[in-house]
């Protein structure tokens, strides 16, 4: 079933490494990002933050700030409460979130007040002059402290507990019974630490209330402009037709630009009150300390197996740290997102997963960072678990995986936790990876090195992702079904404009969307302009995150194009003076069946649509499609990392890293490879350097790029990539999505490789990030035990 891209039939525009159409403006410094937009009479907002993770707010004195020349307004939670704008709904609708701290501050750096002034400097000066009197309270720094319920965080909630929800899937009794009866059994607590997506462009907004027209234009760094328009309407009561959201060029998102943040609301409120545009652009510290974090799952992973290495049962119990508000943008039915993918690529006869989430005195968030709703955590848990099991069985980790892979003939495969995997050929993808990297040779080299005490490790991750939400019957945001949309207008001369409900942040939609439509219509992708991000012009869509653009909007684009083709066929029949039944679309043009050489192109059809439409037909050539996918898509991959660990310093050198991905049909190989390079670099960062950590008093210890590290070109390994193609059977063009695979699939490959290197010392697991210090300490402790 799996093939390489080389085997695919020649295409018109699909599968080609076309250079990106968006690049000419970016390489000239002519991108238009949020902070580049300047409007007349614009004011600036700066926010005041709580230094305490948990404190009662006794008083706020605005007077000194208001006395500063240039300060136009100071807004507090009390002001917002009076205007009934103090609370925001969270995306899945089970909780609400304070806009500005009101009564209590619930996490360090929480927004307490906003100062609006004539320049960004005066706004900052004004924020310094706002005097807030706090009564510090003991903070809840871990979910384990929170679960004792000795301190209750949320006074505003009826139930006086820090427990947010319990969610479970699978058969608990059966899974536990099987585990008890298993010949071999492992159990490990595995942390997927709190980290942050940190796109290079910080989040921001420019709200422009036009009192003459009554229309509010909101420029914002948004991955989901339509959802944001609806959310703004629901929160402010302004009718949705009076709100215009524009997401200009977005400098990276990785999930960080999905939620609505307090700064957006305060700037908008200020613009509505004052009647002039108000801009807010966060600082890097504000970005890292207050906006959507990722992960923070403490997972107890248990796997049972036979002596021969056939898995019998899986149980994963998770304690989740959600911060002060339950703002994870998970679909209503799935509070723990798609954590049910935790059985991974393996045919578990039975499985059970549960998640208990708690409030703590930390910033809210919880799904972001290039991850489709908790898939990164799940994938990390199962891939680490399989490695630990392999070690216990004294079996090669690849061999253990192969004995348990879901076979290609088992697809569509219903997993014990309720998903139906669409397609895959895990054996073929893995074999390709082993061949390219020279797995057997590496194992031989490792055996030699171990004799002399050198620490070399090989780590594998044979993961399965789950992306492309919808289908709408299961997935929603704010109750809105997770479909997506496309609109295509073909102009008389055969060029056109393509719009979608998604919003790219570097993924290359301006190129790949043109390629999809060009492929369907036989047109030139260079002549198809792609536009996204403007709610006045784009069809309603749910946005770009969770690797859903290609699986959902990509489907909508192909199907909208096919609608154009249907209409085009009528026009072609008219031009060919034939019956529609005698016309067929083949070789990217309309052909008269059985009459070679008698054909018309889409360009000719487009011209006729405006100049010579068939009698009694509607002129013009355009189509819209709202696509609700029948299922999710399940990209997979086999990744192999080769590392050398320095026994003396704990330093890890990633010698090689190979990613073999299967994301179904590839639209643009160059862009797919670029996505994989970027995702692997983020996976590398999570594995070795990134964590948002807190000290025992609740101080955030990673508040800027000198403490929260982003890999530079120096540390970043050289990436090797390859692919197999197993089309998604239900997707209109067989594509599955790829943006998040490398991020979901790679952290465990790195960690497995380091643990494999440390195996001779008896070290089974170290939680990420595997900093030099942590690895060194583990080696030192292990050596002390031996001697």
């Amino acid at each position: 079933m799996a093939t390489t891209t080389d085997d695919l039939p020649a295409r018109h525009s699909l599968g080609k490494s076309m250079k990106r159409k968006e690049d000419p403006r970016f390489i000239r410094g002519k991108g238009r990002y949020l902070d580049d937009i300047v409007l007349p009479h614009m004011l600036y907002l700066a926010l005041v933050h709580s230094p305490y993770p948990h404190a009662r707010i006794k008083s706020i004195d605005k007077s000194k700030a208001l006395a500063l020349p240039g300060v136009k307004a100071v807004i507090t939670g009390e002001d917002l409460d009076a205007a009934k704008l103090e609370w925001l709904p969270t995306f899945h609708g089970y909780d609400k979130q304070m806009v500005l701290a009101f009564g209590k501050a619930l996490y360090q750096y929480q927004e307490v007040a906003g100062v609006v002034a004539t320049s960004r400097e005066i706004a900052s000066d004004g924020a310094e002059l706002v005097e807030v009197e706090y009564e510090p309270l003991d903070p809840l720094v871990t979910p384990f402290q929170a679960r004792e319920d000795k301190i209750i965080l949320r006074d505003d909630r009826e139930s006086k507990t820090n427990h947010i929800y319990h969610w479970e899937v699978g058969d608990k009794a059966k899974a536990e019974g099987e585990l008890d009866g298993s010949a071999v059994r492992i159990k490990e607590r595995i942390l997927s630490p709190r980290c942050h997506p940190a796109p290079l462009e910080p989040c921001g907004v420019l709200a422009d209330m036009n009192k003459a027209t009554g229309r509010l234009t909101v420029y914002m760094t948004s991955q989901a402009p339509h959802v944001h328009r609806t959310a703004f309407s629901l929160v402010t009561g302004i009718p949705e037709d009076k709100i215009h959201v524009i997401s200009p060029d977005v400098g990276g998102g990785f999930g960080n630009k999905v939620p609505v943040y307090p700064g957006y609301v305060v700037a908008t409120v200020a613009s509505v009150i004052i009647g002039v545009p108000v801009k807010w652009v966060e600082s890097r510290t504000e970005n890292l300390t207050t906006t959507g974090f990722a992960r923070d799952y403490h997972m107890d992973v248990e796997i049972g197996a036979t002596k021969e290495g056939k898995v019998t049962a899986l149980k994963v119990s998770t304690v989740a740290d959600h911060g002060a508000f339950d703002a994870a943008a998970d679909p209503r039915k799935y509070p723990a997102g798609m954590f049910g993918i935790v059985t991974g690529s393996y045919d578990f006869p039975t499985a059970f997963a549960e998640v208990d989430a708690y409030f703590t005195n930390k910033a809210p968030g919880g799904i972001a960072y290039r991850c489709s709703f908790r898939v990164t955590e799940a994938s990390f848990a199962i891939e680490r678990g399989m490695d630990i099991l392999a070690r216990k069985l004294d079996m090669d980790p690849v061999e253990l995986r192969r004995r348990n892979f879901i076979k290609k003939e088992q697809f569509p495969y219903p997993s014990p936790l309720g998903f139906v995997y669409d397609s895959g050929d895990y054996e073929a993808t893995t074999q390709k990876a082993l061949d390219i990297i020279g797995y057997d040779e590496l194992r031989k080299e490792q055996a030699e090195k171990r004799k002399s005490g050198e620490l070399m490790g090989i780590g594998v991750s044979t993961f399965t992702e789950i992306v492309g939400a919808g289908p709408g019957k299961h997935f929603d945001i704010l109750g809105i079904k997770m479909f997506d949309s496309a609109e295509i207008r073909i102009h008389p001369t055969g060029s056109g404009i393509v719009r979608a409900g998604t919003r790219h942040q570097g993924q290359g939609h301006e190129t790949t969307w043109a390629q999809i439509v060009a492929e369907e219509l036989g047109l030139d992708p260079q002549e198809l302009l792609v536009e996204e991000g403007d709610t006045d012009t784009a069809p309603y869509g749910l946005g770009t995150y969770a690797s859903r653009s290609t699986p959902v909007a990509g489907g909508a684009l192909a199907l909208a194009a096919r609608r154009i083709r249907e209409k085009g066929k009528k026009i072609a029949a008219h031009l060919l003076e034939a019956s529609e039944n005698d016309v067929e679309w083949k070789d990217y043009k309309f052909n008269l069946k059985g009459v070679p050489g008698k054909s018309v192109t889409m360009k000719e059809v487009a011209f006729a649509a405006y100049t010579n439409p068939p009698p009694d037909s509607e002129p013009g050539l355009e189509a819209t499609y709202y696509y609700d996918p029948p299922n999710l898509t399940f990209p997979n991959g086999s990744y192999i990392a080769v590392v050398d660990v320095d026994r003396e310093t704990g330093a890890v050198i990633v010698r090689r890293f190979l990613a073999v991905d299967d994301c179904g049909v590839v639209i643009n190989p160059m862009i797919v490879e670029g996505q994989i390079h970027g995702g692997l670099t983020e996976g590398f960062a999570m594995a070795f350097m990134q964590e948002i950590a807190f000290d025992e008093s609740g101080n955030n210890l990673n508040t800027n790029f000198t403490e929260y590290l982003v890999p530079t070109a120096l540390e970043t390994p050289h990436w090797e990539t390859a692919n197999t193609v197993t089309p998604s059977p239900h997707h209109p063009i067989g594509a599955k999505g790829v943006g998040e695979s490398p991020n979901v699939g790679s952290p465990q490959a790195f960690v497995n490789a380091v643990m494999d290197a440390l195996a001779p010392l008896g070290i089974t697991h170290i939680d990420m990030p595997l900093t030099r210090e942590k690895v060194w300490r583990a080696i030192r402790d292990a050596e002390a035990k031996v001697s």
Binding site: L200, R284, I671, L680, F705
Partner: protein, 164 residues
Amino acid sequence: MKIAVTVNGERYERDVEPRTLLAYFLREDLGLTGTHVGCDSSSCGCCVVAMDGDRAVKSCTMFAVQADGHEITTVEGLEQGGKLHPLQQAFWDQHGLQCGYCTPGMLMTSYVLLKHQPAPNEAEIREAIAGNLCRCTGYQNIVKAIQQASTELAAEPAAAAVGS
């Protein structure tokens, strides 16, 4: 304070507040928004511009008044006579950018690198751009792009000089 700065070959005389950062002077006073700001700790390099043609400076770490009497080249100054600079062309050819936010700083750092080292090897390139963060590309295609530009510039040395 009154300053005179030559930016992309054009001389500007402006009265600036002493604490105005060069990055905001370029972006807000001169409208050259290609120079970006991505952090508050001088870590990300989105704001890198070339000073006097041969020094890469982080314009968020310099006051506008410190640029008085100097020549600044920003990303907007790379294209000459409607022809992309070989670095710009190479970043496009090699898919050396995704979201585009780090790109201007990355281009200007590379521009200064190639002035000092016309034929850098991969390790030298990686070291030279280590002060410029990119969250999207994983740097591999950026390295390839700089290598391509280096080859092209060697073939036509005149293209290396900009704004001087």
